[in-house]
């Protein structure tokens, strides 16, 4: 096991009195792709933003440590952190059009990203920007350089975002729902692009998504989040073969598939995701869990080895998982 590139230890984020991210720990090795997957409100995006130190005003850091390449990010002053963003770690967002400056040609936005981190001339930076636009598959890049975001499609804007994010060759790319706003044929283009750039540059990826298909396509390892906590974590093939937390298992079972029987009753998870201010005590999934026992309603289970040392689950009743197949 290599020394981790990113190490997140016991990270918590609060909105008012609610712990919307509650003691999240994870690590990413150099070049590795980890997917955090979960539904809206599970805390996956806030985890990513807390790592970047880009929390929205309503949310605050409520504990825990984030270390990138041996440097603790929380200990850096604002200038040093700003310098890390874009050079050591970068982020792309769900809404590519809204993430770009609407009043600046896209070429200049890439040039600014270079100049923020490298001592180089504007002319050199422009050459780099042009090469990067070609690398992310934008046709006719010379003309595109001079265009504004509104003149580009959503897919093109996401390519520009990726160009800005990767031009300084960061060690870690955080991709927050990078294809959710895009059509499926455009999603396929962007996912193929991210995979190719990852192969060529060795950038590690923290992928935030709700789409199990995207996870299966992109990730080496997965963390499944529910109610601000990681409830299951493991290597991608192992986790899709066998689930050790009832939430993961029921979620995968409820998805209609592209094979198998049609028009059958789909498996469901009872109830709904509770409001973030009304999480239950104990395991936060317990009101919806068919395996819940008294202990689940009082004590929060720790994330502990389940199937093997690398496959973790936060469940008291993980030994009874087979009951969910009946």
């Amino acid at each position: 096991m290599n020394a981790p590139l990113l190490l997140v230890e016991d990270l918590s984020v609060a909105i008012g009195a609610a712990r919307v991210v509650d003691g999240v720990s994870l690590s990413i090795a150099p070049g590795e792709a980890l997917a955090l997957v979960g539904e809206s409100g599970c805390g996956k995006s806030l985890t990513a933003r807390a790592i970047m130190r880009l929390l929205p005003p309503a949310a605050r850091h409520a504990g825990g440590r984030v270390t990138l390449d041996g440097r603790e990010l929380g200990a850096l002053d604002a200038d040093a952190m700003a310098d890390m963003r874009g050079s050591a770690l970068s982020m792309i967002f769900q809404e590519p059009v809204a993430s770009l400056d609407p009043l600046m040609p896209v070429g200049r936005q890439i040039v600014e990203a270079v100049l923020a981190h490298r001592r180089t001339s504007r002319g050199e930076a422009a050459k780099l920007a042009l090469a990067m636009l070609e690398e992310v598959g934008i046709p006719d890049p010379v003309r595109r350089m001079a265009q504004y975001p509104f003149e580009l499609s959503g897919g093109m804007c996401q390519r520009v975002m990726i160009a800005i994010a990767l031009i300084c060759r960061p060690r870690l790319l955080i991709a927050d729902e990078p294809t959710t706003a895009l059509d499926v044929t455009i999603q396929a283009q962007i996912l193929a692009l991210i995979k190719r750039l990852r192969r060529e540059t060795g950038t590690a990826i923290l992928l935030i998504t709700h789409d199990m298909g995207v996870v299966a396509d992109m990730a080496d390892r997965i963390g499944v989040m529910y109610g601000g906590r990681i409830v299951e974590q493991g290597e991608v093939f192992a986790l899709f073969r066998r689930q050790c937390h009832p939430y993961t298992k029921l979620l995968l079972k409820s998805l209609p598939s592209l094979e198998g029987e049609r028009r059958t009753r789909l498996s469901t998870i009872s109830g709904t995701v509770p409001d973030l201010h009304s999480w239950p005590p104990g395991c936060r999934f317990n009101p919806r869990c068919p395996l819940a026992v008294d202990r689940c309603r009082t004590d929060a289970p720790p994330l502990a080895p389940a199937a093997d040392a690398a496959h973790l689950a936060a469940c008291w009743e993980t030994a009874r998982m087979a009951e969910l197949d009946r």
């Binding site: 539904e39 499609s153 093109m156 093939f237 592209l258 049609r262 469901t268």
Partner: protein, 325 residues
């Protein structure tokens, strides 16, 4: 198979004029829907799939009379809905309802849910008083909620429950057809299957037909009897659901199916997805000939010159491609 169609759409076109200049001269048009035909039988689920801008939602609105067709005919239960007026139009409209994508904006926040669900019955003067209250209670039970929920307001319900309320309201007039416009897209994954099960159960019990509009192909495959694939205002392929997913014939359908990542890393990584080049063309300036030719991996000169007709290639399967079949 030979039952008379409930809904018969023939050569439907919805074009929006583009106006420019001081005198707002019409300089062109956005061809949102450009000559599509399909039929839905009683109790059947017909799905329209495609990416944003393909015209699937506009088609749904035109079917309901919420959007005025530029040309073509929408016949419902044998009557031409596009020319119906007054009392006949009102009568036909009672039999067609809609469920929108966003359950948060489809309920009036100031009304109790009982008032929202009962409103269509009042507007169409079907029921009032005690009979109305009883029908509302019955509808709430039908969608898996409790009759006492009638006095609450929408904000007291979760997204999934709100979509149940919207479905209850759509069912209040006992419609023959419900247009479902992305009915689960705004919902959390863990509550989607509840709503999909509900839609299937209601169809079995009440015999209602669905025009199911969605971009989610795995959902469409699970629910639909037949599927129409739309691209740039055209239906490029239509087939029974099992046939479409087992043997897609149009290059766009093939690319669309291969582009959905499977929730199975072994199967997904063994696949060789067809990655289409470029973006969707603008419907204001569509390509000549076949609308898909600018991104099609097998396009030839003929495709630019000649628009392919939607022609049958197998039982129930029609494809608009010169090279299919």
């Amino acid at each position: 198979m030979t039952a008379a169609p409930l809904l018969d759409v023939a050569d439907l076109r919805v074009h929006y004029p583009i106006r420019r200049g001081l005198f707002r001269r019409v300089v062109g048009s956005v061809k949102a829907v450009d000559g599509i035909s399909f039929a839905i039988r009683p109790g059947e689920t017909f799905a329209l799939v495609g990416e944003s801008g393909c015209g699937k939602t506009t088609t749904g609105y035109a079917v309901l009379g919420l959007e005025k067709p530029t040309a073509g005919r929408v016949a419902f239960a044998g009557a031409d809905f596009t020319v119906a007026t007054g009392e006949e139009r009102r009568r036909l409209q009672r039999d067609m309802q809609i469920v929108f994508q966003d359950p948060y904006s489809s309920l009036n926040p100031k009304l109790t849910v009982g008032e929202s669900i009962g409103e269509p019955l009042l507007v169409h003067r079907v029921l009032h008083g005690k009979a109305l209250a009883e029908r509302v209670a019955e509808l709430l039970s039908l969608v898996g909620l409790r009759p006492e929920h009638a006095t609450r307001h929408p904000h007291e319900f979760s997204g999934g429950q709100r979509q149940r309320l919207v479905i209850a309201r759509a069912l209040s007039l006992r419609p023959k057809l419900i247009v479902c416009d992305e009915p689960v897209s705004a919902l959390d994954v863990s509550v989607r299957s509840q709503i999909l099960n509900l839609l299937m159960e209601l169809q079995r019990e009440l015999g209602v037909a669905y025009l199911f509009i969605s971009h989610d192909l795995s959902v469409v495959r699970h629910l639909s009897d037949r599927v129409g694939v739309m691209y740039l205002g055209h239906i490029v392929e239509e087939a029974p659901a099992d046939r479409l997913f087992a043997a897609p014939a149009h290059p766009y359908t093939k690319a669309l199916l291969s582009a959905i990542p499977l929730a199975d890393p072994v199967a997904q990584r063994a696949r060789q997805p067809i990655i289409l080049q470029g973006d969707l063309p603008s419907p204001a300036n569509p390509p000549s000939g076949c609308p898909f030719r600018t991104r099609c991996p097998i396009a030839e000169a003929r495709c630019a010159a000649e628009a392919p007709a939607l022609r049958p290639i197998a039982e129930g399967q029609r494809v608009a491609c010169h090279f299919a079949g």
